[in-house]
Assembly symmetry: C2
Homo-oligomer: 241 residues x 2
């Protein structure tokens, strides 16, 4: 499984993904699920992926190929598309096409393959946008009312986001929120696993402002996780029934 | 959907269920999902149900019928079964039989019906036992390592249980824990809804010691929910990244 979460805030965007991929419980591997496409100063796009690895890898590879082809039609190239909405449409149609092809191969075996993605970015002259792309290629967008998007195992980590994330949340608090949301998910679902990839995109920076890989056993992450456990237990003790 | 949770602790058992039943989002109703079978001083059994209402109602009705028939075979009657393990087996086989019959009727329409149950109880001379009965009639039991069982929409409410519930947890703290676990679930899943049914069975009391229906707008529940939100936000603010 997977857990990826993205926050769209007034000050910028914060993205976090795990790296665990499994084909059955007895075949576990580490794969990056966060991919950056940048023309610093002109545009920044970060894509996070969940679902069948063959679908997500092929989709990302095709998106890269289209960028690398110098005479590509801008309507098929996320680094040259005129708007973030057009970027979301390109990712959506590429994902849907790849999924359809792989699905066809698998259908003979009675199996299925599916994937979803979060696309976050900003281009010069435009606003920050964040989209959740469904396996069929359609998408929804983060808004002021719901400033976060999740893919994969989203349930365990949602209560903390529901409670603390608002558009006005600072980027520092936002990083805490996504890390605690991930912490709850890691505790409850073995198929979500360390290391983690964290990225911050400041508003109008038009590049990834901060990117960090958090390895298993990272002392800061562990300290935060323990402080949160203690805070929850202390808070629990103080509540009167 | 549904959320039911049961805790098996050194001091007793605590059970909580919601009451929302829906056939599609546009057809929502309130049905009790917690059922008590008691011979005070001799045995107490509480059953909580999740899944297709036609399956759970028919199963509970058959269990009642078997109790009411004076010359019933003790091996089919949960109020006369010799052990709690035998009770779990009766509930399991009744559930599996009902599910099979209804499944057969629905299969013509390409539909399915399923249900699961939590069975908690104690009989004179025996220990407290708590079982999760699967739709096929097999079951698992709560243990010291995992002293709680959940059915229905279990994910949103699991992190708090994972963190605070141990066999040594007091019955008062246990009631707080299940109510906060339910509170997180109510916030995130509309198909779980008030009112709630809460039951406490003290160890060796051989009856339901306390039962309470918590209506929507219950001031105590609301105060606890708000206190927990505040505690979470305060705890969150204090954590350093």
């Amino acid at each position: 499984m997977t857990y990826c979460v993205g926050l769209l805030l007034n000050e910028g965007m914060v993205l976090l993904s795990d790296t665990r991929t499994n084909a059955g419980l007895d075949n576990i591997a580490t794969y990056r699920k966060m991919f950056t496409f940048e023309v610093p100063g002109e545009r920044v796009i970060v894509i996070m992926t969940a679902g069948s690895l063959s679908v997500t890898q092929t989709t990302i590879a095709r998106l890269r190929d289209m960028n690398d082809s110098p005479d590509a039609d801008p309507t098929t190239c996320i680094l040259r598309a005129p708007t973030m909405l057009a970027v979301a449409e390109i990712v959506g149609s590429t994902l849907a096409a790849v999924r359809g092809e792989i699905q066809e191969k698998l259908s003979a075996m009675g199996q299925g393959a599916s994937a979803s993605m979060i696309v976050a970015g900003q281009r010069k002259g435009g606003g920050m946008r964040m989209f959740l792309i469904y396996p069929e290629g359609n998408f929804i967008e983060a808004t002021e009312d719901t400033p976060f998007l999740q893919i994969g195992e989203h349930k365990y980590g949602k209560p903390i986001l529901d409670r603390v994330v608002k558009p006005s949340t600072s980027l520092l608090d936002a990083q805490k929120a996504v890390l605690l949301s991930m912490d709850s998910t890691l505790r409850s679902n073995l198929s979500v696993g360390m290391p983690l990839d964290l990225a911050v995109i400041d508003k109008d920076a038009l590049k990834v402002t901060a990117a960090r890989r958090i390895e298993a056993g990272d002392p800061d992450f562990r300290a935060m996780s323990e402080a949160w456990s203690t805070a929850l237990r202390d808070g629990f003790q103080k509540i009167e029934l």
